[in-house]
């Protein structure tokens, strides 16, 4: 077995026992990247040209390689958000989540692909071209954190970070066959995450076991004075234990989703998972989420685009990134920089966001959406009075072929119905592996009330024990 195939906690144990060295892990992962990257194209920027110094040789992650979604700022290392508009920008500071990993000794192998500014769910909407699914390179890895999911799935690194605004961690985790966790809003500092929809964005980890997610959460969670939305005064102990139980826990399916069409492997996975939960002593129930089912998608896009268009106002060519030198005036400069710098999907969402918040329509759309959002949050909190967790699909279908959905943007939006209500209500969501359908992995999702992150991951440990852990994908290598 190659070192790159080992999961995070195994690597940590091996390093501690001096079975191998950080340099050997680095070389193994680098070799794996060199082997597959031509097929997968997960990277925007590689930083593994030479072994990097380990910030903290005694840290928990000392010598563990990782990759970051390219919307996480890395000091002195190009950060693009997969957009041309950021040009060759090298941030003068580190995102808090990366700073915490670095301080724990993690080593950066590079910055990975995503949909531009996290807008998309295929990882095909990138100025740097699409990333391919390591399980089947003709298919999408999901998005927007497609590069982060693909890198873990292909064995580039044992874990990675992504961000989830409407499913951008959970959906690619499911498509690539890894675990992906979207923590409660406020659990992980957003400082240094290039914003898409600020009130929806949350950073979270990808890994090949739930235990590894727990390990990373124990490092990256916590209050940060630089992020006013990060939580205070709450203690969360992510320590892994096999001695966990879900006896008596209530786990619900959503009534309104019952009649929706799902790909057969996904509905089969739900049945199998329910059986496992029942065998473990959980009580399976049903909750009703009528407002979510009817309005969540519209509400989500109204809010995400409204926030996004103001978040993207700062890209004007004045201070950083792509600019033009020969504009006739400041107005022409702004127009040319933004027209050329942003991709089509980003421009569409900026225009939509501008229209939705325009004074004559603001009440009807943006303000209305904020009210619907409150209703959705209330609906979830009522539901979580009746159940501990909700079990549901991540997506209605398995990953499609690259380029397949490009023409039909709306179909892409609808596919987010299972993931984006979680962001509207600031809930945690775990995308977990259930098995394979042919060579394609099938994932499902667990949703819980705010701050239930620890017990959700404990439940994930039980599910993994029964459903099995994913294999390293072949990465297109015969």
């Amino acid at each position: 077995m190659e070192l790159y195939e080992l999961n995070l906690h195994i690597l940590i144990e091996g390093l501690k026992a001096k079975k191998f060295s950080p340099a050997e892990i680095f070389q193994s992962c680098k070799k794996r990247i060199d082997q597959c990257e031509e097929n997968i194209h997960a990277f925007i920027t590689r930083t593994d040209d030479k072994p990097q110094s380990i910030e903290n040789p005694n840290g928990l992650l000392a010598g563990i390689p990782t990759v970051l979604k390219d919307n996480l700022c890395t000091k002195g290392i190009r950060t693009t958000a997969a957009s041309k508009i950021l040009g060759n920008w090298k941030p003068p500071y580190n995102a808090t989540a990366w700073e915490k990993l670095r301080s724990a000794g993690a080593v950066l192998m590079g910055k990975v692909n995503m949909d531009e500014f996290a807008m998309g769910n295929t990882c095909g909407n990138s100025a740097f071209g699409p990333t391919h699914n390591p399980n089947d390179i003709s298919r999408v890895p999901g998005g927007s954190s497609g590069g982060s999911a693909a890198a873990v799935s292909a064995g580039y690194v044992p874990f990675s970070l992504g961000s989830d605004t409407g499913g951008s961690i959970r959906q690619p985790a499911s498509f690539c066959g890894v675990y992906g966790f979207k923590p409660t809003y406020g659990m992980v500092s957003r400082y240094g995450l290039i914003s898409y929809g600020s009130s929806l964005d949350q950073i979270g980890p990808f890994a090949r076991t739930v235990q590894d997610l727990q390990l990373i959460m124990s490092i990256i969670s916590g209050h940060d004075p630089m992020d006013s939305s990060s939580f205070r005064n709450k203690d969360h102990d992510f320590t892994h234990s096999e001695d966990v139980s879900i006896k008596g826990k209530r786990i619900a399916v959503v009534k309104e989703f019952r009649d929706f069409t799902l790909d057969a492997p996904i509905s089969d996975a739900i049945k199998r998972t329910i059986k496992i939960l029942e065998d473990e002593g959980a009580i399976i129930t049903e909750v009703s989420l009528p407002v979510v089912a009817k309005y969540a998608v519209a509400c989500y896009y109204a809010l995400a685009m409204s926030e996004a268009h103001t978040n993207l106002e700062r890209y004007d060519g004045v201070r950083l990134g792509y600019t033009v030198k020969d504009a006739a005036g400041i107005k022409e400069m702004f127009e040319r920089v933004r027209s050329y710098g942003f991709g089509a999907e980003v421009k569409a969402r900026i225009i939509a966001g501008t229209c939705l918040t325009e004074p004559s329509r603001c009440e009807e759309y943006y303000v209305a959406a904020t009210k619907v959002r409150t209703l959705i949050a209330q609906e979830f909190s009522r539901a979580f009075g009746e159940t501990d967790f909700i079990l549901q699909p991540v997506t209605p279908s398995l990953p499609g072929k690259i380029g397949e959905n490009d023409e039909d943007a709306l179909k892409g939006y609808e596919a987010d119905l299972y993931t984006l209500p979680v962001n509207l209500a600031g809930l945690p969501g775990l995308s977990f592996f259930t098995g394979y359908s042919g060579n394609l992995p099938v994932g499902l999702q667990l949703i819980g009330p705010r701050w239930s992150d620890v017990s959700m991951l404990d439940t994930g440990v039980i599910l993994e024990r029964h459903l099995g852990s994913p294999k390293i994908a072949n990465g297109g290598v015969k």
Binding site: N71, L72, C73, T79, A81, L86, W89, P91, P92, Y93, A95, R190, Y191, G192, L193, I194, S195, G197, S198, S199, P225, M226, D227, S228, S229, S306, E307, T310, L312, E313, R314, Y315, D316, V318, R319, L320, G329, I330, F334, T354, T357, E358, P359, C362, Y366, T370
Partner: protein, 486 residues
């Protein structure tokens, strides 16, 4: 046909820089005089991925300024994003409390054209961040047409309070009194130093005209006034301009006009104001202010200038006019009260500060904080004059000497050759003896009885007075000389 009369309807928006060492949403220094782009960080540069975090001490400054305008404080306020593109605005939106401000309404009192007190209602005060500053190579110093423009982000993110009045102002004179009174009260509150020459107070005015024939002119927004004079002249100009249009039967266009201080005119703004839209700033939670916090800050509010002036009049019988002058500047009033608490008679101390101290400050172009004579020292000087140890003239001489030489009272008295309490008795007799000894022929003349009209006696008295530098009482001198020549 009756002559048409016009009533100006004016609302004023004021931006005041709040006093704070650090910026509103990051910990950079607020020193805008530093070399360009040295007090900046990723947050106030609006770099991708950065988030604002609210400086709670500035919230307190905002509360103090609100109290100074008789405003209430809201328990919950919000920050919004005010979107527009401009190179000095790093994020492409300004973070501002425009739609749910920290304060409720308040008022400032001014005198109307008949001298009666009138309330100008303050709609609200809200907190917001300032933008950077632009430096253009164009000859007119404006962005349009400049070959090169430079941006300095030192000012970006410095804290501002925007104060919006109701359209209650009816003349340029009222406008000036409104902003002067407001400024004085805000300085008193400690919320800001409002140094005008440093651009810490900027004005916009909304001017429209109501005609006696029932016509209402459209509202014109006049921007770019940075001094009381500019505000006054801009409003006067605009009133005249609009009146003329309406008299000619024309219609005043609703627009934004730019005040050109050098030319003394307003002109239609070349840059069209882009419409602004507000969304809630998702990176900042609502600002919750508990009653306890409000009370704590309110307890720090000092006495306001008008209340203080009334106290001087009522408790110390200081004339209203003097009390107004003393309380105009909080530091001056503090100085005066220190004199009083060091034992000086309030009325006399008031007089000294009003005339002598202010005169020297004016001459030297100094502020009271830099004044070399400490209040307890001035109190000592006032007391000595009061007790007759020094005459009023001597007191002023000593005061001037102290100012000029940075010396204490005793040293100054000595240097000026003043004998405290005057020259009398043996000291006086010694001087007389020496004067007589120096003028034997005069003595002869008197003794021989030839000085029938007493002219020679007067002559000696004059010499003695001169010798004592006026520190002897003329009566005593006359008597002592009469005795000496017997």
């Amino acid at each position: 046909m009756a002559e048409l009369t016009f009533t100006p309807v004016i609302g004023i928006e004021i931006h005041i820089r709040l006093k704070s060492d650090s910026k509103l949403f990051c910990s950079c220094s607020t020193n805008t005089d530093a070399p360009a782009n040295t007090n900046i960080c990723p947050v106030c540069m609006g770099l991708p991925g950065t988030l604002p975090h609210l400086n709670h001490r500035i919230v307190e400054q905002g509360m103090l300024a609100g109290f100074a305008l008789n405003c209430g404080i809201r328990h919950k306020s919000l920050f919004f994003r005010k979107s527009y593109f401009y190179p000095d605005l790093p994020k492409g939106h300004q973070v501002s409390q425009c739609d749910l401000p920290i304060t409720t309404s308040g008022y400032i009192e001014v005198h109307d054209s008949e001298g009666k007190l009138k309330k100008i209602r303050v709609h609200h005060l809200h907190l917001e961040e300032d933008v950077g500053s632009l430096h253009h190579s164009a000859s007119d110093g404006r962005l349009e047409g400049a070959a090169t423009s430079y941006v300095d982000y030192n000012r970006s993110g410095t804290p501002l309070a925007e104060i919006v009045s109701e359209p209650d102002v009816s003349s340029a004179k009222e406008a000036v009194e409104y902003v002067m009174t407001l400024r004085r009260r805000v300085i008193y509150s400690g919320a800001s130093d409002v140094e005008l020459e440093k651009g810490m107070m900027r004005f916009d005015a909304n001017v429209s005209m109501k005609c006696s024939d029932g016509r209402w002119g459209k509202k014109v927004e006049v921007k770019n006034m940075n001094s009381f004079k500019a505000l006054e002249h801009a409003i006067e100009f605009e009133i005249k301009r609009q009146k003329k249009i309406m008299l000619q039967g024309g219609e005043v266009k609703q627009e934004t006009r730019h005040w050109n201080d050098a030319k003394g005119i307003t002109s239609s703004s070349r840059v069209k104001e882009s419409y602004r839209k507000f969304i809630v700033e998702p990176d900042l939670p609502p600002l919750y202010i508990s009653q306890e916090w409000i009370d704590r800050v309110a307890s720090r509010m000092p006495e306001m200038p008008d209340v203080r002036a009334n106290r001087y009049v009522n408790d110390w019988e200081i004339p209203q006019e003097v009390a107004d002058v003393l309380t105009d500047d909080k530091n001056l009033a503090d100085y005066f009260e220190s004199c009083v608490s060091s034992g000086a008679n309030p009325v006399r101390a008031a007089h000294w500060v009003r005339t002598e101290v202010l005169r020297v400050l004016n001459e030297k172009g100094q502020k009271i904080a830099d004044f070399s004579i400490k209040p307890e020292v001035l109190a000592g000087l006032v007391k000595r004059v009061d007790e007759g140890k020094l005459s009023t003239t001597q007191g002023k001489e000593v005061f001037d000497y102290m100012c000029a030489n940075n010396s204490g009272i005793d040293d100054s008295v000595k240097a000026l050759g003043i004998t405290e309490g005057g020259i009398a008795g043996n000291a006086l007799n010694d001087i007389i003896a020496s004067v007589i000894a120096a003028n034997p022929d005069v003595l002869d003349e008197i003794k021989s009885g030839r000085d029938k009209k007493g002219k020679k006696l007067k002559f000696l008295q004059g010499l003695v007075m001169k010798e004592t530098k006026g520190q002897a009482k003329p009566q005593e001198v006359a008597e002592a000389i009469a005795e000496a020549v017997k």
